[in-house]
Each structure stands twice: as C-alpha cells, then as structure tokens.
Amino acid sequence: MMQMLSILAILLAVGLPVLDYAFFRPRRRAFGRDDAILRGVERAIYLVFVVALAGMVVSSIFMLAVGERMHRWMLILHMTLAPLFALCVTALAVLWQSTAAADDDLRRGPREPGERFAFCTVIVASFLTILSAMLGMMTWFGSDGQRLLLNIHRISSLVLFVAAAFLAWRLLSKQRSPAS
C-alpha cells in the first residue's frame, strides 16, 4: 500500500511540473515582491528547504517506493535533516504570511492560484508531518495511536512532497514579471 502511494507521489511530483510546463508556463507571473523573484534570504531558505526535503524524501519515500524500509543510516539521515526542514518551512511560512498580508493590503495578487494552493498545502502538510512525528516520540499514545500518527505522518509527507515539488518547479522556472 505504502509502496504504491510512494510511487504515485513520485509520479505526481514529476508529472505536475511537466503539466504546468506544458499548459501554464506562458501565462505565469512573477512570484514574490515586484522588485525581486525571490529575496536573498528567502532564496537561501528555500534552497536549504528544498535540499532538506529532498534528503528526507530520498531516505523515506524513495526507499518505500523501491520496496525497502527506512532504517539504519537512512533513518539517521531522515532524523538529522528533520529539524533543518522544520526550521526552514517555518521560516518560509512566516515570510509567506507577511508577504501575503502585504499583498492583500495592497490588493495585489502576485501569486497564481496554483502556487497559492501549493504553498498552503506545503504549510498545512508540514504542520501535520512535524506534529505527528513529535507526538509519536512521546509516551502519550499507545500502539493504535502510534499507528494513526504514523499514517498521518506518511500521508501528509506524501502530500507535502508533491506540493513542494510543484512549488519548487514554479520558483526555479520563474521569470521576472514584465510589469516590474
């Protein structure tokens, strides 16, 4: 089951940017503030976020997809990158919130609906992924609760992976808006 879902997630992660490239690229506008595609700090955070997420995906989703388990060194890699990922996604969320609020105040909508939805998905899925992992480490939940938390962690991380892959594609391929 998880192997099938992992393969599906990988296919979606690859497929959505391809679809985007094929159908929506001509109508795309710049992301972020008008004066920059991404600011320097934001860009650095994005970069670390993407690298951390990629490492975590390789150690977990890819392992499940090829029929292996996430254990030993892969588990250590996963857990080593986890705090980095959590910090990055939190920082991005804060930046996004401030940016979005400013945009709203100015009645501007620099983001396209797809990007907006993908980013919202990344934030919500990250929250669920992080919280389910943290709760699983506590002694509050028995086996049934642990299984539920594990399933939440797995499903939300698959969703996170697909959404983040789509968003990364949009950011990497972004061009300056003609208006700016």
């Binding site: 250590i76 857990m79 992080i130 594990l150």
Partner: protein, 732 residues
C-alpha cells in the same frame, strides 16, 4: 428409408433389455437382503473413545490391565495366592487405551512423534543434551534433526540407550515404545506414561521412582507401575544378560511386580486421580528452568564460581511467569486435542502445521501465541482468557516488525552479559542430588538475542527470506570429541572416548549425584587425547548398543529375536535381525559408524582442534562448531519489567544488552573462551545503531525544535485562515 426402419426396430429391443436388467438387479438385491450374510466377518472398527464431555472430572475407578490385556488382580491379605496372579506391570496402552481408544492418535503428539520423519517438527525447541563432565562433552541431540543438533542414532546412541539416558524426563512413547533394540527385550517398551502428566494427585505418583527405574534398573515397562504406587518391583532388567530369553529358564530372573492390595477395591478396580487439564506442577517436572545468573562472582565475570551454588539458592527471589501469577495455568495456552499436538504458542506455528501434507490445523491456534491472544489475528479475535490488549505507550510500531514479544517480555531481564541457566531436561532438576554447582555442566546461556524468521531459523536482518525478528534464546555451544572424514565431523560417544584409555588425561568421572562444572583442558591434554584416539583400535560395539531401525508399526512389545550378527555392525537398517539360515551366506558386515573412522578432533568453544604436523594442536573452523539455540518463551515478565519500560535508552544506548551484551563461547579449552556481542552473534554491524543511539542525548533538542516549529506553523495557518475569513476573500 432403410435407416429409419432399423431405428424403429432397435428402440423396442433396447427398452426390453433395460427392463430386464432392472428386474434382475431388483431380484438380486432382494435375495441378498433376505439371505444371511455369507461374507467373511471383518473386524468392526474400534469403538470411539469414551468421553463424558463434562467439565466435571470423571472418577477413574478402573481395572488395570497388563501388556497382554489381562486384568490385574492382586492377592488380598488372607487369600491364597492364585497360581495365575499377575506379576506383570500395568500397561497404560491397554489400561487407558481400553476406553481412550484413540491411543494411536495420541502418538502424533509432540511428546511422542519425535522420531516420525513426516511429523511437523516446528521451530527448534530444547534439545536433549548428552553431557559428560569427564570427557567435557555437551552435545545437543534431537530426533527431529533441528539444525545444529545431532540425531542420537548418528552418534551411536540407540533408542534403548536414549531412553536410559533421558527417559527420566521423557513421557515415553514413540520410538521408545516401538524400538527393536536388543535390550528392549529385557527392559520392555517405555510406553506413553499418561499418568506422568495427567495425575492430579502428586502424592500418588512419584516421577523420581520412575526415573530411577528407567536409568538405574532399566525396568522401562515397570517404571509407571512403580511410580503410581501400585506395587513393588523386584528384579532389575539391567542384570539380565543380552541373551536373555523371556520364555527360557532365566525368565524367573525377570523383574516382577508385587501389587499393593490396598490400592484395589473389592471389585479389583483402582482409583486414579487424573485430569484432562494437566496441572502446572506436572509440566514443571520436565520444563523447569532456573536462572543461576552469575552468583558467586564479583559480577565482572560472565561465569559463576566453579563450585558455588548461590545462584541456585537465590531462586526464592525469582518471580513466576506473570500468567501464572494471574491465575492461569500452562494448559490455558498450551492446549491440545486428542492428538496431543500441544500448542507451542509461537508466531508461525499455524503455517508450520499447515505445511505438513494433509494436515488441517485449527486456525484458532494462531490466537494462542502472545500477539494472537493479546491482539487477535486478521481473522480471529484476541482477548482469550481475558487477555488485555497491550497499550505500548510511546513505542513506535516499527518495533513490532523487528522484535518478538518475548524479546522484551520473556526470560530473565537482560544484563551486560548472558547468564547461565539450568533446565530439568539438561541438568536433571527434580531428581535428588548431593551437590549442584551453579556452573554445572552442560553450560547453557541465556538470553542470547538472535534474529530468526517465523520458522525459528536464523536470518540476516536484510535477508530476502521472511523478515526476521530478534528473539531471546537459550544457547549451548557444543563440545565433544569427534572424528572428521571429508570435512564432516561426527561426535564420538563419551564411553568410546574413555575406552581409548584417556582416563588418566581427562580425570575421573564425578559421582552420579554430583553436578559439577567441567574443568578446562589444556592444549597439551587435548593433544594427548587426540593421540590416544588416533592410536585406539577400532571400537568394539556391544550388541546392546547396536542401533536398529525403528519401526513405528511394530507392536509395542516387539523385540529383536536374536542378537545382532556382528559386534562391529554399529548401524543396521534391518528392523529385526534373524539368525542366518545355514544355506544362506551371511550378510556382509555393515560399515563402521562415522564416529569410528576418520581423523580424531576436538570441538569446543566454536572451534575445532586437530593435531598439527608438528604434533601441536591446530584450531580450525568447521560447521560442526556452530552453537545450537532455541527460543525462550517463559517466564514472561510483567509490563513494568519488560525491556524498554524505562525508556528507549534501555536498548538505544551504548552497552545495551540487546546489542552489546556479551555472549561467551564457553570453551572447554583453557584460556580459549572468547566473548562476542549479541550483534556479533547476529552478524550485524552496529555502526548505524551506535550513531542512532548517540542522537538520544540530543533528542530533547529535536523535540523542542519540532514543537516550536509546529506551534509557529499553527499560528500562521490560523492567522491566514482568520484573515481569509474576515476579508471573505475565499468567497470571491
């Protein structure tokens, strides 16, 4: 036109033939029914076993029968002794089998089917251990041919000698009942002893008397009678010569029973207090295990003091299995039907039984394993006997894929090294002794954490086979003298080693009732013994020790009619060995047994030793040095005393017993005992585990970061949601 005419003529003809045939058949059947049957009478199938099917026990006030099926009636006080008064022992096959006519079905049970090659032998269990302190022999034996055990026949132990050695803690039956070994003619068969398990009156059954009758007197068939206090036995089968003829003039020397009239009522019946549900104490006679720890030492050594018995004496501190503490009994889980295939209770047992051709095991046995009972299976509900559903708070479910339930819950709490354990089967617990040292041979260690599959076979962690789980085991490292031919080492029976004249080198045999540790041997001693063995003449095998093939279909009282043809024929496949007719040329002598030919070697401490070119001892590796391990099921510790109850670092830390606990090779060679970690024993690398364990001190930081990030994310999500709601942008 022509065809049509023919058809018209054929139809009435065929109809007539059919009618005639039907009439003939009816008449014939009517005549048959009217006539008395003239067919030869065939024996009607035996009546079904008698059962009351009540939960109230049936009072067994029954006549007792001897091996001929004759009712035994003792001479009462004041009565004149009847000339035909029975002096034969009770036969439980006849006495119990009279009503429980499914006696042959019982032979399929675990306690009796050990020699049946087609029987399901399940995952490895406790072997019989041939232990001899003088020759430093400790050899796991099993008729079931579990990996790394030796079949008794392969090492020159025939069924008779096996019964003599181990019948003390064996229910009898199986090959011990049907064997054709020469001495079985004198001892009689060692039948299923129903009472050794099913008696409910401990004061009316003495297993020690039975053990003595078997081991010392060789009165196999008399042993249950003696143990059940039915009478006295005069005479010893051990004193009868090999050419004893029960029908000859020496017959009067055969053991005889003088029954105790007070055990019989006026009608000649005897009351047996028996019960279907066997009491725990009956199980314990053969299945007692006592952890002797490392008492008598400073705690640094992995071996107890050689002569001390403080560990044994500390048994009062040990808790019982939690299930027994809660009021359960062994048979609540280890149940059986008429076939006596007692549920062993391990995961995979159902598959193992189902794998046997034609077998249709009851699927509910899957709910009698730990997980099956406490959780249920995919198809069966759990909670039998009100088993609580475990919560396992804070334990990631990943552990259930990597550990058996017993890994955390069974056996003694693991320490930094294995401890020694003594078992009833190996150390004759339950029998009187003058002295027992904690380190008494054989050396069995526990708990050894090995990774095994559902069949109980060791597997690597990432093997392609069924995924393995770590489970606690007891382990014995074999130690024996052997002979090697084409890299195959076969153990030499201890008495044959002694027969080579090595007594001066190895020292004297300890007294029968002294259970002592085996002193280590120097390399010089080993070299000398190997030299003696190499120079020893071909062994002379007594007829009594000849291995004969077992024939389960043979009647219980079957015995060879004559002694074996040649003394040197150690192994023969003939079920009986009649004297050759004068005009028939004698059969060629059987080849000598494997243990009698080849280069002498010594195996101990997971090494093999042979004489080198310069006369010095050389060690080498051979598959025969591999230890034998069997899983630990009991005693089950309660949740609070399970491994991990005090936190993850009970395992995920440097020095954790499950990974870094020490297993030693228990070598009989001085200074050769090596120490390995549990991870080494599983042949697993510990780099990743050590790195993972090293992260635990920083786990609080991970948790802090995680919760802080989650909190911020929640605030962001909440703020965004509120913003959307208040600005109603979502509606646009």
């Amino acid at each position: 036109m022509l065809r049509k005419t023919r058809d018209n003529r054929l139809v009435p003809l065929l109809a007539t033939l059919v009618v005639v045939a039907l009439v003939v058949m009816q008449v014939t059947s009517t005549l048959r029914a009217a006539e008395p049957s003239v067919e030869p009478s065939t024996p009607s199938p035996k009546a079904p076993p008698e059962r009351t099917y009540s939960r109230s026990p049936f009072v067994h006030r029954i006549p007792i029968l001897d091996e001929d099926g004759t009712v035994i009636r003792p001479t009462k006080p004041g009565e004149e002794a009847a000339p035909n008064a029975s002096s034969k022992p009770m036969s439980q096959a006849n006495t119990c089998g009279k009503c429980h006519s499914d006696y042959p079905v019982m032979q399929q049970g675990w306690h009796f089917n050990f020699a049946q090659p087609n029987a399901p032998h399940g995952r490895p269990g406790e072997p019989w251990i041939l232990s001899d302190v003088q020759t430093r022999t400790q050899l796991p034996l099993s008729y079931r041919r579990w990996q790394n055990t030796y079949h008794p026949h392969d090492v020159g132990i025939n069924d008779f000698n096996f019964a003599k050695l181990f019948g003390r803690h064996h229910t009898g039956g199986g090959a011990l009942q049907t064997s054709n070994d020469l001495r079985m003619k004198m001892s009689g068969p060692l039948e299923n002893d129903c009472l050794i398990c099913h008696t409910s009156d401990a004061g009316r059954y003495d297993p020690v008397a039975r053990a003595n009758a078997i081991a010392t007197d060789q009165n196999f068939k008399h042993a249950p009678t003696l143990a059940a206090f039915l009478g006295k036995v005069q005479g010893q089968a051990s004193r009868l010569r090999d050419n004893f003829d029960p029908a000859g003039p020496d017959a009067r020397r055969a053991p005889r029973v003088t029954y105790d009239p007070s055990r019989f009522d006026d009608l000649g019946n005897v009351v047996f207090d028996v019960e279907r549900r066997v009491s725990n104490e009956r199980c314990y006679f053969c299945h007692t295990n006592i952890d002797v720890g490392r008492a008598g030492t400073d705690g640094a050594s992995t071996q107890p003091a050689a002569g001390g018995n403080a560990g044994l004496e500390s048994r009062w501190r040990h808790d019982r299995d939690i299930h027994l503490v809660k009021g359960m009994s062994c048979v609540d889980c280890h149940r059986n039907g008429p076939d006596h295939m007692i549920v062993r209770g391990y995961e995979g047992e159902f598959e193992a039984r189902a794998a046997v051709a034609g077998a249709k095991p009851d699927p509910t046995i899957a709910t009698l394993s730990c997980a099956g009972c406490h959780y249920g299976t995919d198809t069966q509900p759990g909670g039998r006997n009100a088993a609580p559903r475990p919560v396992h708070r804070g334990l990631p479910t990943l552990h259930f894929d990597k550990l058996t339930c017993t890994a955390c819950h069974s056996g003694p709490a693991p320490q930094d090294a294995t401890t020694l354990v003594q078992t009833a089967m190996a150390h004759k617990l339950g029998l009187p002794r003058h002295h027992t040292a904690d380190a008494a041979a054989p050396t069995i260690q526990q708990p050894v954490f090995l990774r095994v599959n559902r069949r109980g076979e060791p597997v690597p962690e990432d093997g392609d086979d069924q995924p393995g789980k770590i489970a606690p085991h007891r382990m014995i490292v074999p130690s024996f003298w052997g002979r090697m031919t084409n890299e195959k080492i076969t153990p030499i029976p201890p008495e044959q080693v002694v027969a080579a004249g090595v007594e001066e080198i190895l020292g004297e045999k300890p007294a029968e009732k002294d259970f002592v540790a085996a002193a280590p041997l120097s390399e010089e001693q080993i070299a000398k013994v190997l030299e003696k063995l190499a120079a020893a003449p071909p062994p002379e095998i007594r007829p009594a020790d000849v291995v004969t093939a077992n024939n389960p279909s043979q009647p219980t009282t079957a015995a060879p009619t004559t002694a074996p043809a040649t003394a040197n024929a150690a192994t023969t496949t003939a079920s009986t060995q009649p004297a050759p007719a004068p005009d028939v040329p004698p059969a060629p002598p059987a080849p000598p047994p494997a243990w009698a030919t080849g280069e002498p070697v010594f195996v101990s401490g997971m090494k093999a030793y042979k004489r080198g070119a310069n006369g010095k001892l050389e060690s080498f590796f051979n598959i025969a040095v591999a230890p034998y391990a069997w899983p630990i099921g009991h005693d089950v510790r309660p949740a609070q005393q399970s491994l991990g109850a005090r936190g993850c670092v009970e395992c995920h830390a440097s020095g954790a017993p499950i990974f870094d606990g020490v297993v030693n090779t228990a070598s009989a060679v001085a200074g050769a005992t090596a120490k390995h970690t549990m991870a080494d024993a599983r042949m697993e690398s510990t780099g990743a585990l050590a790195a993972f364990a090293a992260t635990y001190p920083l786990r609080w930081l991970l948790l802090l970061t995680g919760y802080a990030c989650a909190a911020v994310l929640l605030v962001v999500i909440f703020a965004r949601a509120m913003h959307l709601l208040t600005t109603r942008r979502w509606a646009r």
